[in-house]
Structure formats: structure tokens, C-alpha cells
Symmetry: C2
């Protein structure tokens, strides 16, 4: 026979934490606590299978359920030494729903069930507090009337409001015992009027009513909708938990409190918590009374006069302290506890794994390994990789006031304050005179690089998490708030209008790149402290991970930062960033304005020594680690002047008529630059550009090799869609290499590969791999093309997509495994088939995202590459991925 009811905290506890599917999350947790010997208020769980039965049998229960519930209830009565419906010593219970996963939209709780006109007197006597008893009763009638009987809660509130008005009372706390009694009468009258039958006085009838209401709430529209959005099967069903009530507010020997087994914000190993004497749980949270510290140490740290529980209730505190040890030994992790003391007796209401700050997570993980509680693998799994970000950047002082005027996307972590500037030139100028500035733009473009370098933070009104501003800022480790759509940034009038008010150039703003907040005025920041625990954990991560971690970098600063953070090479060096340098852009532009190959070659000739110098610097910094250099990728128009003044300036410097410049700008303009004349398409039409770049790489490599340092350049051809493109560009690179090697009489090893960033490339990877030594998945563009979404334009609809559950996470931040992931899998499989030694990596934004990294481990990539500040995150995430994959999860 199916077992429909499981008891806990009575003579026998029948369930445990593993029975989540059957008992629901709440029921399983209560059973687990009880079987650990914690003093849990006794009760029982009606299983989820009853729910399933109920819906399969026209809303009826299994015939034996009634007697099973009676038996279980008798067990609870016995354990509590009270009687359900007993006039002298009434047992009260709570009834709660509890599905496999927590589910809003369902009936939550009915408290104090078992009260009626008789038992309320018993409660009054027992608690010696008539007002408490009648208040409890009216709360019960109100709650039951609303959630079980379906009477509109406004009707109850109106009764109370009217009562208070009639009696000249403004606060609920001023309603007397008699008052509540009157109100109960009116509540019942309201219910009877609406339903045509009286409020059930029989506790058993109340109980069955509540049980039925829980099961009924499984199929209300809100719950159904929630399940649809979250892919929860209706078959799972909900359980019903019936548990005896305990009260922390029945006198001075009563109390209630919450505690963490360690300090959840610092991770320090001491018993951290708060309690209140003669109070209910909600009083601790609500802040009406000031909660007192649990321990003497805590009290002293806070400089409080209010006695700690350790001092005022030493015996119960002693019991609680024992439980703390027991729980940590059992769960091997920090626990978050709720307890109630009823007339000197300790009851545990909840224990769960404690949420903690990034700093605490790190410290606790390392401490617990040192204490021998967990092993290194477990420690590595305990720290959320992305939380490390908080430890690497300054943060806003949490105590400071903030005048938040807008909110954008948390595009690059960290916080900074500075004066508003609207152009990159202004940013540079202000920086020269020592001022901190926030660069505010509708969106940034590659021409803004020097301004972004000069600014302490970047704020844009458009663009998403992977807009130019966001990507570059993260690369620089500079804070950035992107796509703050409420701001209307007007570069002409040098003002920002926001919700009717205006701020102007020179005003001070603070931006928080970790929350997306835009704050008027200066807010003090707190500098990060890189504790020893950080280094310890990173060391463990390196022991465990299989994949290498590289960085996306092209500047000296970025490369050095990344190496300091543990990068093992460069996975993406975007050569065009070297072109944007404003000392070179004139040459680049002349190259673009060349009307034939020889003019173009002449302009490229001037760029060659600069590129060579860049590469030589990078090769030197990276000390023999592999470096993937991507040849020119963006469309040429990105390098051209667009602002009037800039056009004039360029026209004069180049000796080309302004009109001619404009004609060329028009010729080069594109409707969809993302899908335009860029990547290897440039190399196909102007092979001399790639030839110059390859030459610069090889000359630099030989130069650095001459100094005794090994260099293995990996040359990457972008935006390949067909094998033939790669073959042709590979040929250009090889021929440049051979020319340079012949000229210098020396050689270096090198390899040539491609980015896989177009669906067609992924699908034809088998053929492409025949001409490639490596693939690097360019998941930014692969996401854009596979999903047909421009990352610069998603801000107008992606938030709504997230809200409606179409994408669980921003697909530009976390890999869309179902779609883009398939392409990567296909490409890996087919690529390896025709070229078993092919090297596989990822260099899109996703290379620094933990869940994407887990996917990379699954498909067997050799490395991930990410922006410098995400290197530690990637190291940890890669370690977790290896550990998880070994566990076969």
C-alpha cells in the first residue's frame, strides 16, 4: 500500500532530505532536521502523490487518507502533550504547501489552525494573555477566510478599519482583547453572509479545508503560468505540511531568533545571530524592536547594552551552541537557522545552507578545508566563480547614501565617481589636469578608446551587456553602466536629461558597474583587499582544472594585468585596437582612402613598424606563452571620421577634399555593418592588409626570439564562412612568413587557424578544419548570427525577453547552449574528425562566464579566453567544470 503520510518530530521521523520529490522541499527539510535529533515542532507531511491522486480522481483523496491523517495528528498531540480542539490545552497547527521546488502563486500558509470560540479561551489561559489569544484567533479567521474560503481580504481589512475609526484608534497595537473579539465576530458574520454558511468551528473541518485549499491552489492560473515559464511539470504535485505551532511570545521565558553558524559577511568562525525575548519571528525581521546579539562577543562588538542570549538564557543558548556544531558537522557548510523558545523549550524551525558574501564564501571554504571538514574539491565548488568579481574591484561604501537617478545594465564591475564629460578628447584633456571623469556617451565606438582609457568609468544610454562600451570596459577592468535608457545624453548641448531634470558637463556622477546604478554626486568607495585565501583557492583551482585559461588582450596594461591574474596566454589579440590609436589612425585612414593597391601598400608600409612594435611588446610580456593574433576584423568605415570637425581635420591632414571624404564615407557606409564587409572579407579583397599584419607578426617574433625568448604566434583569420576563404588567407600568411624568414635567414614556429563565429562555419567545420590548426569560437558573433540578434540593438527587447522567460539569461553573457551550443558541439565534433590534432578554444565574452565554461569543458575545449579581470573567475569555473564532469554531473 502506498504510504501517503510521513510524520516528523513525533515518536518516529519517517522522511529525510533526499525525499524532496515525495515530501516537497519543506517537508523533506523538516524530516531531515527531526531525524538529526533537532527539536523540531512535531508534525506530518501529506505527500505529493496524494496531490497527483487527487487530480487523477476528480478531486478526491485516497480512501485511507482520513484515518492516516487522524493517526498522524494523534502522534503530534502525544508528542506535544496537547489536544487538537482541546479546550484547556489546545494544539494549534500550521498548514503549508510544499512542492519539489519553491513555487510562488500557490497557497502558502495558514497559521494557528485549531482555534475556535472554545480553544481560544484555553490559549488565553495558557499564555496568560487574552489579547494575544484573540489577536491570534482573528489572524487565523482572516487568513483562513482569505486563502481557504476565498473571501476577499479587503473585506476583512475594511472591518478592522471601520472598527478603528469607530473607536478612535489608529494603530492595530492599540486594539484590545475585547476589540479583537468583536472583530472576530464581524469577520465570521462577513464570511457567513458571503458564503451562506458559517465559519467552521470544528478544528478537524478547518484542517481538511486547509488541506483541500493547498491541493486546489496547485491548479490556479498563476501557478500553472509559473510552471509553464519555469518548465515544472504539473505531475510533480505539491505536498501539505501540518505542523504544531510554537510561540516565542508567550512570556519572558519565550524568545525567537535567527542565526548563522559563522559570520556570513566576513566568514569569520563565530556564532552570529540575533534574538528577541517574548517575540514572534516576524518581529526580528520587522525591526520594530531592536534585536539583541546572540553571543557576548557579538554584543561587545556592537557595543550594545542589551544582554545577549548567551547571558540572559544561558541554558537554552548552550543547547543552541551544541546544535550549531552538530549542524556544521552534518551539513559541512555554514547554516542559517531559525528558532523559537517557547516557555523555556527550544524549537528549531528551519536550517538551511547560509547565503554568504563573496569574501565569506572564500574564507569559509578555505577554513573548512583547514579544519578538515571538507576537501579541496568541495571547497572549490563552494565559491560562486562570478562572485570573485566583487573582490577584484572597488565597491561603493555600503553605508553611504545614494541618490540613484537612473539604472542601466551592470556592464563592468567596480564603482567610480567623476565629473561628466561627453567626448573622449575632453576626457583626455581633463585627465591631464588631474581630474577624474565619467565618460558619458549614447554609445561608444572604437574612436573612444583613448577617452575610455582616460575616464574612471563609462556610462552609456544605449547598448547591452556586450555593447562596445561594455566589452571594452570589462577588458580594461574599468567600471561601466551601459544602456541606461532613461538618460537622454545630448552631446551638442552637453547635458543629460533624466526624468525631467537636467545635469550638465562637469557635474559629478557616481556609477556602480556591479548594480547598474547611476548616482548623482560623489559616493565614497571601498578598495578591494586581496586576501591570502584568494591565492590559496586559486592555487587549488589550478591543480584541478583541465582547460587552460587565456585572456583577450592587446595592450601592455591588459596583458600584464591578465598575467598577474594567472592567464596562460592570449586567446584573442584584436589587432584593430592597435589601429585605433590616435597617433596611427591617420595612416589607417589614408590606407582606406587609397584608390589602388600600390597606394594602399604605401600607407600600410607606414603602419608596419607600429604593428611590429606592438607585437614585440606583447610577445615580450607573455614570455613564451601562446598568443592568438586575430587579423583585421572590423569594417573599414569604423576607422573613418564621422563628426564634422573630425572630417575637416582628416581632410586637411590627408590633402583630400572634404567632398571626396564624404563620398567615400557614403560608399563605405553599411546597412548592417555586423554582417558587412569585414573579417576575412577584407583579407580577400585587400590581401595586402593581412600580408602587412602577418609580416609585422613574424618580424616581431624573430626580434623577440633573438633576445632568447620563445614565441609561438597563432594567427587567426576572422569571420570565415567557407574553407576556401581560410585556404586563401592561410596562403597569404604562409607566404608572408616565408618571405620574412628568407629575408632574415631565421624561422619561428607558428600556426594558422580561424574563428568559428558564423553558423555556416560551424556546420562546415569538417572541411574548414582541413585548413586550420586551431578553431577559436567567437561566440559573440556566433550568438548574434545564430539568434539573429545584434548585441548593439537588443536593449529594446531583451529585458522583456528575460522577464517573460524566453531566455533564462542574457544569451550574450551566458551561452545559449540549446542553440549556439549545438553549433559549437557540431563544429568540435566535425573539426576533430577531419583534423584530430586541432586545438579548440573560445574567445567570446562567454569565455569568462562560469556556466558557459562548464559547457566548454563538456565539449572538450582546450582553453577558454576572457578579459583580464575575469581570468580568476575562469580559473575557478574551469576547476569546477572539471570536478563536476568527473562526478559525471
Amino acid at each position: 500500500m502506498t504510504k501517503w503520510v510521513y510524520t516528523f518530530g513525533t515518536e518516529k521521523t519517517e522522511g529525510n532530505a533526499k525525499m524532496r520529490d515525495l515530501l516537497g522541499g519543506k517537508g523533506a527539510n523538516l524530516a531531515e532536521m527531526a531525524s538529526l535529533g533537532l527539536p523540531v515542532p512535531p508534525g506530518f507531511t501529506i505527500t505529493t502523490e496524494v496531490c497527483t491522486y487527487y487530480y487523477k480522481h476528480e478531486n478526491s483523496y485516497p480512501p485511507e487518507l482520513k484515518s492516516l491523517v487522524e493517526t498522524a495528528l494523534a502522534g503530534v498531540e502525544k508528542a506535544m502533550g496537547m489536544g487538537f480542539g482541546d479546550k484547556e490545552n489546545p494544539l494549534l497547527v500550521s498548514v503549508r504547501s510544499g512542492a519539489r521546488v519553491s513555487m510562488p502563486g500557490m497557497m502558502d500558509t495558514v497559521l494557528n489552525l485549531g482555534l475556535n470560540d472554545e480553544t481560544v479561551e484555553g490559549l488565553a489561559k495558557k499564555s496568560n494573555d487574552e489579547r494575544f489569544a484573540w489577536d491570534s484567533y482573528r489572524r487565523f479567521v482572516q487568513m483562513y477566510g482569505d486563502v481557504v474560503l476565498g473571501v476577499d481580504h479587503h473585506d476583512f481589512e475594511e472591518v478592522i478599519a471601520t472598527y478603528k475609526e469607530d473607536n478612535g484608534i489608529t494603530e492595530d497595537t492599540d486594539v484590545s482583547a475585547q476589540g479583537w473579539q468583536d472583530i472576530v465576530g464581524q469577520f465570521k458574520a462577513t464570511i457567513e453572509l458571503q458564503l451562506g454558511k458559517p465559519f467552521p468551528n470544528d478544528p478537524k473541518e478547518q484542517l481538511w479545508g486547509a488541506i483541500g485549499a493547498v491541493f486546489g491552489s496547485w491548479m490556479v492560473p498563476r501557478a500553472i503560468k509559473y510552471r509553464q515559464i519555469n518548465d515544472i511539470s504539473a505531475d510533480w504535485g505539491t505536498a501539505v505540511n501540518v505542523q504544531s505551532m510554537v510561540f516565542g511570545n508567550m512570556g519572558a521565558d519565550c524568545a525567537t531568533g535567527v542565526a548563522f553558524t559563522r559570520d556570513p559577511s566576513t566568514g569569520e568562525n563565530y556564532f552570529y545571530g540575533e534574538y528577541l525575548i517574548n517575540a514572534q519571528g516576524e518581529d526580528v525581521v520587522a525591526g520594530i524592536r531592536t534585536p539583541q546579539s546572540l553571543t557576548k562577543k557579538g554584543r561587545e562588538m556592537e557595543g550594545s547594552d542589551l544582554p545577549s542570549m548567551e547571558e540572559s538564557m544561558p541554558k537554552v543558548f548552550g543547547q543552541l551552541g551544541d546544535l550549531r556544531d552538530k549542524l556544521e558537522s552534518h551539513f559541512r557548510d555554514i547554516q542559517d537557522l531559525e528558532f523559537t523558545v517557547q516557555q523555556g523549550e527550544l524549537f528549531m524551525l528551519q536550517t538551511r545552507t547560509g547565503k554568504r558574501s563573496a569574501k565569506a564564501a572564500l574564507k569559509i571554504a578555505v577554513d573548512m578545508v583547514n579544519e578538515g571538514r571538507i576537501n579541496k574539491e568541495e571547497a572549490l565548488l563552494r565559491v560562486e566563480p562570478s562572485s570573485l568579481d566583487q573582490l577584484l574591484h572597488p565597491t561603493l561604501d555600503p553605508k553611504a547614501e545614494r541618490n540613484v537617478i537612473a539604472k542601466g545594465l551592470p556592464a563592468s564591475p567596480g564603482a567610480a565617481s567623476g565629473k561628466i564629460v561627453f567626448t573622449s578628447d575632453e576626457a583626455e584633456a581633463k585627465k591631464l589636469i588631474g581630474e577624474s571623469v565619467i565618460l558619458c556617451r549614447q554609445e561608444t565606438s572604437p574612436e573612444d578608446i583613448h577617452g575610455m582609457h582616460a575616464a574612471v568609468g563609462i556610462l552609456t544610454s544605449r547598448g547591452g551587456m556586450t555593447s562596445h562600451a561594455a566589452v571594452v570596459a570589462r577588458g580594461m577592468g574599468k567600471c561601466c553602466v551601459a544602456g541606461a535608457g532613461d538618460l537622454h545624453i545630448d552631446v551638442k548641448t552637453l547635458t543629460i536629461s533624466v526624468n525631467g531634470s537636467q545635469i550638465k558637463e562637469g557635474d559629478v556622477l557616481t556609477i556602480d558597474g556591479s548594480t547598474g546604478e547611476v548616482i548623482l554626486g560623489e559616493v565614497p568607495t571601498v578598495k578591494p583587499e586581496m586576501s591570502g585565501d584568494f591565492g590559496t583557492l586559486m592555487g587549488w583551482a589550478d591543480e584541478y582544472r583541465r582547460m587552460k585559461v587565456r585572456t583577450n588582450a592587446e595592450t601592455e596594461l591588459d596583458a600584464k594585468t591578465a598575467v598577474d591574474f594567472g592567464a596562460q596566454g592570449i586567446g584573442l589579440c584584436r589587432t584593430e585596437h592597435m589601429f585605433f590609436d590616435h597617433t596611427r589612425i591617420q595612416n589607417v585612414r589614408e590606407m582606406i582612402f587609397a584608390t589602388n593597391e600600390s597606394e594602399r601598400r604605401a600607407a600600410l608600409e607606414k603602419l608596419l613598424p607600429e604593428q611590429r612594435k606592438d607585437f614585440a611588446e606583447l610577445f615580450t610580456i607573455m614570455k613564451g606563452m601562446p598568443i592568438t593574433v586575430r587579423l583585421l576584423d572590423p569594417p573599414l568605415h569604423e576607422f573613418l571620421p564621422h563628426e564634422e570637425e573630425d572630417i575637416k581635420h582628416f581632410s586637411e591632414a590627408a590633402g583630400i577634399g572634404e567632398d571626396q571624404v564624404r563620398v567615400r564615407l557614403g560608399d563605405l557606409a553599411e546597412m548592417n555593418p555586423m554582417l558587412g564587409h569585414r573579417g576575412c572579407r577584407l583579407g580577400i579583397t585587400y590581401p595586402e592588409i593581412y600580408e602587412m599584419q602577418a609580416r609585422a607578426i613574424f618580424e616581431a617574433a624573430l626580434e623577440v626570439a633573438d633576445k632568447g625568448q620563445s614565441v609561438i604566434p597563432e594567427i587567426m583569420i576572422p569571420l570565415v564562412a567557407t574553407r576556401k576563404e581560410l585556404e586563401m588567407m592561410r596562403e597569404v600568411v604562409i607566404s608572408a612568413a616565408e618571405t620574412v624568414f628568407k629575408e632574415r635567414g631565421k624561422k619561428v614556429d607558428y600556426i594558422v587557424g580561424t574563428m568559428i563565429e558564423l553558423p555556416r562555419a560551424a556546420l562546415t567545420a569538417g572541411k574548414i578544419a582541413e585548413a586550420a590548426d586551431f578553431f577559436s569560437f567567437g561566440t559573440n558573433d556566433l550568438t548574434q548570427t545564430a539568434l539573429g540578434m545584434s548585441r548593439d540593438d537588443v536593449a529594446s527587447f531583451l529585458p522583456e525577453y528575460a522577464e517573460k522567460g524566453i531566455f533564462e539569461r542574457d544569451p550574450f553573457a551566458s551561452l545559449d547552449i540549446e542553440g549556439v551550443g549545438q553549433l559549437i558541439e557540431i563544429a568540435c565534433e566535425r573539426g576533430r574528425k577531419t583534423n584530430p590534432t586541432i586545438k579548440l578554444g573560445i574567445c567570446g565574452e562567454h569565455g569568462g562566464d562560469p556556466s558557459s565554461i562548464e559547457f566548454c569543458e563538456k565539449v572538450g575545449l582546450d582553453y577558454v579566453s576572457c578579459s583580464p579581470y575575469r581570468v580568476p573567475i575562469a580559473r575557478l569555473a574551469a576547476a569546477q567544470a572539471t570536478i563536476n564532469s568527473k562526478k559525471g554531473s
Copy 2:
């Protein structure tokens, strides 16, 4: 033992047409002719296997080859009654390469081989023409010296030039026999000086030299490159053909000519051809002498006095006439012949399937079925579907002169002349006063629709085969030349500059949308005649094809045209085209400027009756055929005013400040509109738009159904990437349907499906199909996203891609089967797996492209949909696809 040599035209012909791989194309064809009993000059073929052997064995021949060649040569001598190297009656031969497929870059031909200082005298005597003999000899030495011995041909030309200068001669024809003899001497001296050994006098040595040169040319860089580009395996090898020379220029009993078994331009069944007495083949082609008609009928038709061959050489003509019948009976198709008469004896040099005009192809196919020569299936396969286009549009009079000033893409067939206008409003205005205009734009946008309707042709300087202008023009059946990059169209000054000169508004241009030519001035056009053969063949096509053919149409005119052309439904009705109508655009714009849902609903309310009217019209025209209506697809900014004047006008009409209009324009602008806020993303963010459209569809359907006509709307959700999007939009449509049905108390059947136009949608088609009644492949966008190429921007590099063989054909015109095709296959397979009854179709531009249609047949689509003027093409192509797939090819 391997058979290395095959003879033809001698006692025994050993090969046939099927032995192409072994004998090469040329050798197989010669053998086939000979075995048909045609009088082919005898010869033999050294097989491609010898070539393979040669390269596998360090450039040496199979040992037995020498004697095999000798034997074959003896057979040729015997058949011709001449001797190789015989001083009196010398046999001369040609040596030619011949691979499986014709291959430029390889050694082509050495003629007159066998001549030397002795045999030249024999030739002189036999032809009774000393000059002919020495000229032949010098040609041989020159050709052999160049292609076999590798002496630069300039060196030979210089000898001739010097000789002519020294002797005061300007034309080759004035060089005497003695002159050529002197030149031969100097040629030989030049060769000996350069190579250090004399020119080979021994014919056998000459022969082996030429054979070696053919095999050697298989591996020259140009040939290797050509093979790489065209995916030809080096293993295939080339054959060598050695064939006896015959001469049509040895006297009055000699002649040469070319003929078609039917008229290749009209298809009429009479013997069509030209000949010249005492001439070489090249004389007929070169036009130095006027060729004479083959038949008396032909002479009379041309009104010529020169006797026909029928009259002047009745006996040989009789033989030729017999051969004509024999060849048509054998090949069952029109043949293109080359023949030579040497001293009264007829030799056939070549027969091959004759190229023919579209009109002729149609007539010949139908005639041959009526003559019982071929069956209907064969007839259907004989007509190139895309050639039908020529028959449906006016064409330029081929006799008229053309002053071509630029060339663009042949974007939409047909030809037209008209005055230049630069704006759509001007086009409309000019049309109203009865003028024909050509609308000239850098590129068109949806706002130009009315101007395109008003114009007789459209000319753009930017955009590709699937740019807006091209697609819309094809849909309208209006001629269009797109992307004529040499034109600088300046709308401000109302001028077009082209290569230094300027043309202005009002000047007359002619454009040829079938060739891409842009012509100054008016050129007369020829109207198409739809012959009865056309209808007959289309009828046969309908008998055979499996797939249905629908059309992409939203206007009355297009729908009617398509129905006349045999469309079986509408596969894509783009509702936004209805929005662009300039009587409605104001309402559309107000809808876009709405700041909240209720304002938006108010604006939509005004659009509802208009949309309903549109649908009712379409439903009525289509008489119960299925109609797929795509809900709003383009980004909203496409509907907004962009020109200053337009902004002003809108601002006044809508009562919204110009500044506000500009702010909104800025907010809506996108970096990559193709990947932006469009398609179902609009439906997700503004469900009320789709709701209105669905309502309009259902109300219209009920209205039309009331008149007794059946309507089954197929409602299509665009740009879906995830199942959830489709589910949500499907819900909007269903709920609109239910509301309308309830209001009217009536119902119609309908289905809801989606476009598959994103790689992610194709990859997750299994899930999406669970919520879709049909898929329609939107291959335009699928190509753009899979390849990462914006069709509006490819003009800058796609031509170079075609030239370099990266894409064989424009992937926007003909499906990229390797890449995009994979996505379609995946989607079909996965879609059918979860939804076996799903209806599958294609509605991209590729739906009208024959090779893409063949692919659609292979993957089992239910229908293709294309622009109205391509419907006949699609009908024929679909029939061919069915026939070919039955044949298992």
C-alpha cells in the same frame, strides 16, 4: 593488359560517348560520331589512364605505348590512304588535349603536325597551292615552337613583323609562298638559338613531342589552379587525341561549314546553317567572307544571291541532309555540326547538342514530343526553367544600337526606357501626366513603393540581387538594375555622375534588367509573345511535379498576375507592405509614437479596417487557395520619416514637436536593423499589434466566407528563435480568433506556423514544431544569418567572391546548399519527427530558383513560393526536380 589507345574512324572504332572518363570529352565524342557511321577524319585517343600512369611513374609512359601508337597511326594512314612523313602524299595530324571536362589553362591544339621541309612540298603539290602549303608549315612551326617547345610567341611575331617591315608589307595575306618559306627558316633559327638544338624534322619526333606537351600541361600552375577552384581531381588526367587533318581550302571542290539541325533562335524545324567554298573553318566564323546559306530555303529567306550548298554541291548536301536526320534520331535533340568537304569528300568534325534560345527550346521540346522523338518528361528536362523569364518580359530590340554607360546587377528582368527621376513622389507626379520614368536611387526603401509602382523601371547604385529594390521589382515584374556602382546618384543636385560625365533629371535612360546594362537614350523594345507551346509545356509540368507552387504577394495586382501564371496559393503575404501605403503611413507612425499601450491601441484601431479590407480583397482573389499571412516583420523605424521635409510634414500632421520626433527617431535607430527589434520581437513587446492583425485576418475571412467562398488563412509568425516566442504569439492569434468567432457567432478554419529564418530556429526545430502547424523557410534571412552577410551590403565583396570561386553562385539567388541547406535539412527532419503532419514550404527568393527548387524536392518540402513572375519557372523547375528525383539522380 590495360588498353591505352582507342582508335576511331579507322577500320574499327573502339570507344563511345559513355567513355568520357577514359577518353576525355573530345575523344568520346569523336568515337561516338565515328561509331554512328559519320565520316569522321580518322584518328586515335591515348587514354587518361596514360596521364595518370605518366605522373605515377616519374613522367614516363607505359612501355608498350610506343608500339600501340605506331599501330594506331598505321590504321589512320591506311584509312586516309596517306603516309605520315610521306613526301608525296603526307598525312598531317592534329594533336589535342581532352580531359573529362573542358579545362582552360591546358595545352589546346597543335595543327598540321607531320609537316617538314620534305612533306611541305608534297602538300604543295597535292593542294596545288604552294602558298597554302608554306603558310601551313609556318603556322605549324610557330604553334609547335610555342606550345610544345616553350619559345615565347612574341619572338615568332617579331620575325613576321620584321619581315613585313623589311618587305613593305602590312597584311599577312600579302606574304607570298616564298615569304613564308623564308619565315619558316628564321623561325627554325630562332628555335635552335634558344634551345640549342634544331627544330625536329622527323614527324614521329614531332608527334611524341606534342603528346608529351599535352601530358605536361596537366600540371602547369594555371591548370592546377583551375582544378582547385572547380573541384576537379588531379587524378582524372587528360587524354590525347591524334586526328588526321582535313582541309576545306584545297580548291573549288572543298568547303567548310557549320549547321544546326533546326533553327536555334526560333526552333523552327528546318536545316539551318552556313558554308563557304574553298575555306577553312575559321573563315566562316571570322566574317572575312560572307558565308552562304546551306539550303535554298535559307538563301531565299535571307534574300541572298550567293548559291546555297543545296544548289552548288547537291551531292554532298544530300549526304549532309541524311546525316542531319540520323543525328536527330540518334541524339533526339537539336545538333550543332561542323563539317569540311575536302576534294568532294564530306568529313564531320564535330556534333554536339545545339545551344538555343528560350523560345526555340520551348518549341523544339514540344515539337519533338509531337514528332514522337521524346516523351514529355524529356521535353520538360530540355527547357532551362530560368530561361522562361525571357519569354515573360519585354526585351531590347537586339538590332538597336546601345550606348552602355554602366553595368549593374541584372536584378529583375525586362527592359524599359524612361526619364530619370530621383524621388518616388516625382515618379508618381510624372506618371500622372503620362510620362514613363526610371526611378534612380542609391537604394530604395519601403517608402519608395509608390514610386516603384509608378516607374517603368528601377535603377540603384547600391545593393545586390536581393536588395530591397531587386526583391520588390521582381515581385512587381518590373525591370530593375541594382548596384550599378559606377553611378554616383546625387538626390540633392538631381544628377548622376558616371565616369566623369553627368546626366540629370529628365534625361532618358534605358535599363536592361536581364543583362544589367544601363544605356543612355531610348532603345526600342520587343514585346513578349506567349506562344501556345508555353501553355502546353506548363501543362505537362503540372502533370509531373509533386510540389505545389505558391507566390509571394500582397497586392491585388501581384496576386492576380500570379494566379494567371498558375500560382496555387500565397506562400508569403507581407502585411507590412500594406502599412507602407502612403494613405496609411500616418496612422502607422502615430502607432509608433504612442507612449503607452492604450494610445497604441487607439492608433491600431484606425488601421484595423484598412488591413481587414486588404485581406478580404486577397482572400477573394485567391478563391479558396491557401494564403500564408506573415504578421508584422520589419523594425518600426522603417516606417518613420527620415528626410527633413518628411519629418516636418509628419510632425505637423501628428501634432508632435519636431524635436520629439527626432528624439524618437534616435531612440529607434539601430546599428544592425536586420538583427534588431523586428519580427516576433515586435509581437512580444507590443502584442496588441499582432492582435490587431490577427483580428483583421479573421474578420476578413468571415466576411469572405459569408459570400460563400472558402478561406483557410495560415498565420505566420516571423523571426522566431525559440519555441516560447512562437507559443506566446500563437496564443495571441488564437485568442484573437476566439474573440472574433464569438463576436460573430461563426468560425473559419486556420492554422498557425512560423518562418524558419534563423539558424537557432532550424537547430531547435524539433521543439518549435510542437507549437507550429507549418514551417516556411525564410531563406533570405536564413542565408544572411548563416553566412553572416547582409544582403544590402554584399555588393562590396560578393563579386570578388564569385570571381575567386569562393561561392559558385550568389548565395542570395541560389541556395547555399552546403551551409544553409544543412540547416533546412536539419529543420525538416527534426520538425517532422515531433510533428509528422507539419506542412513545409519555402518563401525566400530561392523559392523561384531552379537549383534551389531541386533541393526543396530532395528534402521533401510541400511547396515553394516565389514572386509572381517566377511562378512559371518554379512550376517547370519543380517538375524537373520530381522527374530527376524519380530517376534517382
